[in-house]
């Protein structure tokens, strides 16, 4: 599926909820889907600043595509990571750098994108893009 197809799919999945709590229940359920980060990467080096919960994120480049894994000690945060990875996983650095991420807004989580927000969605996204930029630079 293309990035946008996945985004559209997520938007559709969320569209059935009109209650905030149901959306969060769904995020909680998604948490188990997060591609688990290898324990060796659960170190300060992979910790993302700016979240009230702890968030680790790891990325590696295999055959031109970026593979993300992550984890958090908070479940909702894990659900958010899971969504981000769904959309961004196994893409080229270029795709990630140029991405137009509209699903967050459409599912009503855009308030969470504020850099001041304690959940650090903005910080995670920034970190993912930084990985992409780094891999892109390396491959040149």
């Amino acid at each position: 599926m293309t990035i946008n197809e996945i985004q559209d799919q997520i938007v559709e999945d969320f569209s059935v909820f009109d209650e905030w709590l149901d959306k969060y229940q769904y995020l909680i359920d998604l948490a188990t889907d997060t591609p688990q980060i290898d324990n060796q990467f659960k170190t300060n080096q992979y910790l993302i600043n700016g979240c009230q919960s702890r968030v680790w994120l790891h990325a590696e480049l295999k055959e031109g595509l970026i593979y993300f894994t992550g984890d958090s000690d908070a479940i909702i945060t894990n659900g958010i990571i899971s969504l981000l990875i769904k959309v961004l996983n196994k893409r080229t650095p270029k795709e990630i750098i140029e991405i137009n991420l509209y699903f967050i807004d459409k599912i009503g989580l855009s308030q969470n994108l504020s850099p001041t927000r304690a959940n650090g969605l903005a910080a995670m996204l920034k970190q993912m893009k930084l990985y992409a930029v780094a891999f892109d630079a390396k491959s040149k």
């Binding site: 709590l21 009230q52 919960s53 479940i75 304690a118």
Partner: protein, 406 residues
């Protein structure tokens, strides 16, 4: 005056607010309180009719502003039962007040080999300034440990007392656990070694009676925004003889007497410690908020809030897997807890979606959280406008959250 909760709630316009379509249940009063109309209106009215810079003018408005500013100082003095208005310095808030004292001690008193005592319960605002004072002077920081209920261990405190200790700085009420420390007794013990005491009253002045002459502390700090007053204003109380001997903190206009290009002499207290244009409108609004509190009566407030806290404690204790953090015999306002296997942050997010505002995390008491071996708590903190119905909403929301995460 009796305690009329409906009338009180009607005084606070923000309580009529809804959040995600749900009525707001504001239980984050430890972070900041909401403001009654009378305080909000005082600010607007002042700007609409009276505003001019204080202390410096010959003109009518300047004189009127100055009078209102100085009578606000009188009122703060009366509220704390200070023996004179000149013992009240208006600051930006508790952090500013504590930094002022820590700086003055760094400049003029602390030396290598000296000691400073704080407690394991302190907010960063009453810890980091003393760490820095130690770094600058070579003094050493001593920490009074807590027992498993979150109470200071008095025998350990007594062991720390000695002639080496140059200041003892302690929270009256713990912001994260709610513990009311027995400060009157502790101050008396410190005085046996001539140790001056700074009381961080940030979490006490709004909840229980505070009388500086009865407590006999040398200094006391609090923030306006936690006692129904605006942001950007706070007070520092200091005994006259101490304020007179300590060096000034910031410098600029108003705090000086004579200035030449070479050097300057300082004004009398309290102006010596108020450099520049102070937040005089904030000070006036602070006095208005304190009047509001005094009208309700701190005894009434303490009774009402303590009943609320007991009710909440009992209700929350009924929730399985919930553990209250901080079970001191004497507590005020704050109720911290964790639920097994659910991150405090997850809980906070779900409560938020049900319109309930609580604080999560370390509450600016990181070392305390480390000590307790937890990454943080959910904290509900109560103020005069909270109700048992709100406690019930909290309880139900927590049960609901538990389901969601199971």
């Amino acid at each position: 005056m009796s305690f009329d909760i409906d009338k009180i709630r009607a005084d606070f316009p923000i309580l009529q607010q809804t959040v995600y379509g749900k009525p707001l249940v504001y239980l984050d009063n430890g972070a900041t309180t909401q403001k009654p109309n009378i305080v909000i209106d005082r600010i607007s009215d002042f700007y609409r009719t009276t505003n001019a810079n204080v202390h410096r003018g010959v003109h009518f408005l300047s004189d009127k502003s100055t009078q209102e500013y100085e009578s606000s100082r009188d009122f703060v003095a009366q509220f704390l039962n200070a023996s004179s208005s000149k013992e009240i310095i208006f600051t930006k808030g508790a952090t500013d007040s504590i930094n002022l004292i820590a700086d003055a001690f760094t400049q003029s008193i602390l030396k290598k080999g000296d000691q400073i005592i704080v407690s394991a319960l302190e907010h960063h605002a009453n810890l980091v300034p003393w760490q820095i004072a130690c770094q600058k002077t070579g003094a050493e920081l001593k920490i009074i440990p807590i027992n498993e209920k979150g109470e200071l261990i008095q025998s350990e405190f007594e062991n720390l007392l000695s002639d080496k200790v140059k200041i003892f700085s302690i929270a009256h009420v713990s912001n994260s656990l709610g513990t009311i420390n027995p400060v009157k007794e502790m101050i008396a013990k410190a005085h046996q070694f001539n140790i001056p005491v700074l009381l961080d009253a940030s979490q006490s002045v709004q909840h229980i009676e505070v009388d500086v002459q009865d407590l006999d502390c040398e200094f006391l700090a609090f923030s306006g925004h936690k006692i129904y007053a605006p942001t950007g204003i706070g007070a520092l109380y200091g005994k006259t003889e101490w304020l007179e001997k300590l060096p000034p903190y910031q410098s600029g206009g108003d705090m000086i007497d004579q200035v030449s290009y070479i050097s300057s002499t300082y004004a009398e207290i309290p102006l010596k410690f108020e450099a520049g244009t102070n937040n005089y409108v904030g000070a006036i609004a602070l006095a208005e908020a304190l009047k509001y509190v005094q009208n309700i009566g701190l005894k009434n407030i303490a009774n009402y809030e303590s009943e609320l806290l007991n009710y909440a404690t009992q209700k929350l204790n009924e929730i399985e897997a919930l553990k209250i953090i901080g079970t001191a015999d004497k507590k005020a306002s704050a109720l911290s807890f964790i639920i097994d296997k659910i991150h405090n942050y997850d809980l906070g997010m779900i409560l938020d979606k049900m319109g309930i505002a609580v604080r999560t995390g370390h509450h600016c008491t990181q070392p305390l959280m480390n000590k307790l071996g937890i990454n943080g708590t959910v904290r509900a903190s109560f103020a005069i406008y909270n109700t048992k119905e709100e406690v019930d909403k909290l309880t139900n929301a927590l049960l609901k959250a538990q389901q969601m995460f199971s």
